[in-house]
Subunit: 272 residues, 2 copies
Amino acid sequence: MSFRAVTRNPAYEQVAQQLREAILDGQLRPGDELPSERELCAQFGVSRTTVREALRALQTQGLAVQAGPTAPLRVPQPDALSTGPLRDSLVHLMKLGRVPLSDLVELRCALEAAAVATAANTLGLAPLNDPARQRAAAHVADARAALDTMRRQLADTPPAAAGSDADPALAPAAPAVADVAAFEQADVAFHVALVAASGNEALQLVMLAVRDSISTHLRDALTGDHASQRTLNRLARQHEAILAAVEAGDARDAELLLRDHVIGFYRGTTRR
Amino acid sequence: MSFRAVTRNPAYEQVAQQLREAILDGQLRPGDELPSERELCAQFGVSRTTVREALRALQTQGLAVQAGPTAPLRVPQPDALSTGPLRDSLVHLMKLGRVPLSDLVELRCALEAAAVATAANTLGLAPLNDPARQRAAAHVADARAALDTMRRQLADTPPAAAGSDADPALAPAAPAVADVAAFEQADVAFHVALVAASGNEALQLVMLAVRDSISTHLRDALTGDHASQRTLNRLARQHEAILAAVEAGDARDAELLLRDHVIGFYRGTTRR
DNA sequence: CCGGCCTGCTTGTCAGACCAGCAGTCCAGC
DNA sequence: GCTGGACTGCTGGTCTGACAAGCAGGCCGG
């Protein structure tokens, strides 16, 4: 108990710690440049080697970023932290820990279900002039836009099935083949917008990381096409149902529909 | 999409990347020692400076740990990643002001609720000889043991003086239990065991990081006593109720009770 | 006034050196 | 023979000084 942190304090760790604190305490603010390496040498009274190792640590944590090859390090905008180190941590954890895909999917399910429930409650219960409600509504609108994009791409594809539902905006002048990458991108945008509608930053960040981790996992496991016309149509229909439930403020429905959607998707994708 | 590697590839980044892949691909397994710095210099044909910066990056990501001051770097056990870099990422994000505490609490709620629901379902639905069920039962037993520990500490404490709880500054010398740290430790053990009972590794790892991140935040925000006798008794009662629901296989009850418990706790703790 | 050069910064990288610790070895003295 | 201490060779941690490449700004000549 008595010998806690005495274990190791190399000079580079101390330097890194001081810089970290300066950044996290706001003495260095997002966008600010860090002093040059040689300047830091003078400030801390250590050699450039030591300073560089400290900076490499900060850089790895995402607390310092650099624009160009010879550009100075700068304090990043906070949201860069989520796409960088947080995502990497999760991916490493899953890869190293041999976490099965099913666990990850269940985790994603829980996160996203909580998000849509919160979003639905916000829309269903909050007063109309509540700024949180307005933000949520804006994100839901984004989700709807993404859904429309998916629909449009489905419609542009040569019709294989007769069930072409009622689609108001059709643009037959678009390229012939549906761009699978773009479709997936719209799918991502849909889910991201939904989670954003919850207004919970933490939920959103972790969800993004988990999602990323899952797709990395999938990419490693199989070079999936999993893009049959019927599947895509089913995805779009499920999206529509989820969105409707959220817009109606029905948290319970939204949650259940989303669980079905996510679990069904991954059940269809992973066959082995 | 694919604008990844074009950005920058200093030598230390390349070395770090190769080592990363070796670790994540399992060429180097948990517990293995990495080659010495000088050896890596020879292998990669770079100077020790470069190797050291790469190693510092790996170390920061938690993909390499060292025991003693002059000990060689080794590949960590996977679960060390959750308490290390993942936790740090979350803490940094919060400190940079991007994520309010309430969001994190909601996140924790969602994670833990999903866990107890899964655990309850496993106990309630799985056949008796299902190994998953047996694992879950073992973890639930752990949870009960932790709860008993909390209870015992509460019982060992002399009945507190009349709880005039409105003045924390007056009598801080009267702890509600003999050993507050041990009580908290038992509390942690309870929640960890519950989540472990879900059998979902991913859930457990992320939950640990989030929980850690929250308590760091709290420790920074207030030197919490938040330990009135009545509060602690209430916590124990809530634990009992949650545990009972899980043991009874009642997922819905377990989820709701847990949400109340977590949210209530943090509502009582954060006053501002 | 404008363009090119030059100087001075930055980061990236290298080579070599030294220190403090730890482990294994090996020899001397008991 | 056995034990103790010195010795040797490793490890990581740190420093020094040097050079290349890239960028910015100033300065000088046309």
